[in-house]
């Protein structure tokens, strides 16, 4: 069953995450609305992964509020997340997708057809019966994407899905993400790859040390960064 209400916009209001005396995320204020992809950009350790987990609802903030479409208790049903290293269930490629479909409440009779369509969509039709754990890194990311898409999400959160992939695999993942965005799914993707930002982003959130340093349209961020840190990052200098 699909919740009739929307998870968008996703709003973070003064959200902080602390572990003991360490501040991981510091008073984030953020609104993610429907539309073209938003990329969360920043150096390693900036808190991108933590932010995505909060957006998914996997972790709770230690301060502040998160709302999805105005509700604080929205179930995860219409969100999906792709981890940097997704876990492949010990079964075939097709069975991994069928598993996600079953969880999404798709009746058994419709699953085979949907599995076929999703395999087609991520280009894994030939590997349907291959054990998922024996797929290559890029293939595993594409399978994880198919699993995420099986949930028919409104928001798809991705945590540097191409970080460990070669250019060809990166391209095929980006193509799937692109087409998902075109089909109306809100993409929120973490990346520290400026080329990827240029290729995919419509909107950029730039984070440094757990805080949002700058946000705006991708073109503005790349061509006219307003903060020193953003300018250094775009130039390719090390930002710590």
């Amino acid at each position: 069953m699909r919740a009739p209400v929307s998870d968008l916009p996703l709003v973070l209001d003064g959200v902080s995450l602390r572990a003991g005396s360490i501040t991981i995320l510091d008073r984030l204020n953020l609104t993610i609305a429907s539309g073209a992809p938003t990329l969360i950009v920043g150096p390693n350790g900036a808190g991108k992964t933590r932010l995505l987990r909060l957006c998914m609802g996997l972790d709770r903030p230690t301060a502040g509020h998160i709302t999805w479409g105005g509700r604080a208790d929205s179930p995860m049903a219409r969100r999906a997340i792709l981890f940097q290293r997704p876990v492949m269930l010990r079964r075939t490629t097709a069975a991994n997708i069928a598993y996600a479909l079953a969880l999404a409440g798709i009746p058994r009779s419709e699953r085979a057809e949907r599995v076929g369509a999703l395999l087609e969509r991520v280009g894994l039709s030939d590997l349907a019966q291959r054990p998922a754990r024996r797929l290559s890194g890029g293939e595993q990311q594409r399978l994880a994407l198919a699993r995420a898409l099986a949930r028919d999400p409104q928001i798809l959160l991705l945590d540097e899905p191409t970080a460990n992939l070669d250019p060809a695999a990166t391209r095929s993942v980006e193509e799937i993400v692109q087409s998902a965005a075109e089909s109306g799914i809100k993409i929120v993707m973490a990346s520290h790859d400026l080329g990827q930002v240029r290729r995919l982003a419509s909107h950029v959130i730039f984070m440094v040390r757990g805080a949002i340093c700058e946000q705006g349209k991708a073109g503005d961020f790349l061509d006219h960064p307003t903060t020193e840190e953003a300018a250094a990052f775009v130039r390719g200098d090390l930002v710590i």
Partner: protein, 230 residues
């Protein structure tokens, strides 16, 4: 025929009584393994995934119960099933059913304890993914058990080995009745007490051979299916 070869001779002769004993031993121990798996695996998974006060105590207890002495289990089941016991009305003392019950109790911890460990370890890896997929508690247990299936084969084999090898419990609750509740192990005990040591040893060797064969088959199946599923 010389004593040393009497057990071998029984096999070569296709001795019906011997085969009945082997069949009963396998039927009882395999039934116990199936039942113990049905009980012990969900139990282990549940314990592996739950967090509550006193959980560590329960884990220690479960691990300790792996060393449950068969004769203690046998005695407890005997007192339960005896006509004078609380479950006496069923009249199942001195039957294969009683033996299955005793062995099941004996090996539930042997299956549940490693299942708990395996599921708990796997949960560390799967937690985020399954939580993000909104998998409920029952679904988590089922998924983790299924994905841990190759490791769990080892737990099943340990349970089977224990069941097939024990004599204390089946002797007490089965009564070692000729042609009815006599298993490989009670037959070995009987032949030993008759002073028929070569035959006892021969029967013991047959038992060990069967256990090795079953382990080899299970291992082979595991390797084969791991290759299939990766």
């Amino acid at each position: 025929m010389s004593d040393e070869f009497s057990a071998l001779q029984l096999i070569l002769d296709g001795d019906a009584a011997l085969f009945a004993i082997v069949k009963l031993s396998l039927a009882v121990s395999l039934s116990a393994v199936v039942l113990a798996a049905v009980i012990g695996m969900p139990l282990g998974a549940l314990l592996g995934l739950s967090r509550f006060r006193g959980r560590s105590l329960l884990v220690v207890l479960l691990n300790s119960l792996m060393g449950l002495p068969p004769v203690v289990v046998g005695l407890a089941v005997y007192l339960l099933l005896s006509r004078s016991g609380p479950l006496g009305t069923f009249g199942i003392l001195f039957t294969p059913t009683a033996m299955v019950i005793a062995q099941t109790i004996l090996i539930v911890p042997i299956i549940a304890a490693p299942t708990r460990q395996t599921v708990e370890d796997l949960w560390v890896e799967y937690r985020d993914e399954l939580t993000a997929m909104d998998v409920g508690p029952a679904g988590r247990m089922a998924t983790l058990l299924w994905d841990a299936r190759f490791s769990l084969v080892t737990a099943l084999l340990a349970g089977f080995g224990r069941a097939a090898a024990e004599v204390g419990a089946v002797m007490i609750v089965g009564g070692n009745i000729d042609g009815f509740t006599r298993t490989m192990t009670t037959a070995v005990a009987l032949e030993t007490s008759k002073g028929n040591l070569p035959l006892a040893l021969g029967l013991g060797l047959i038992l060990v051979t069967i256990v090795i064969a079953i382990n080899a088959a299970a291992w082979g199946t595991r390797i084969w299916s791991e290759r299939q599923v990766g």
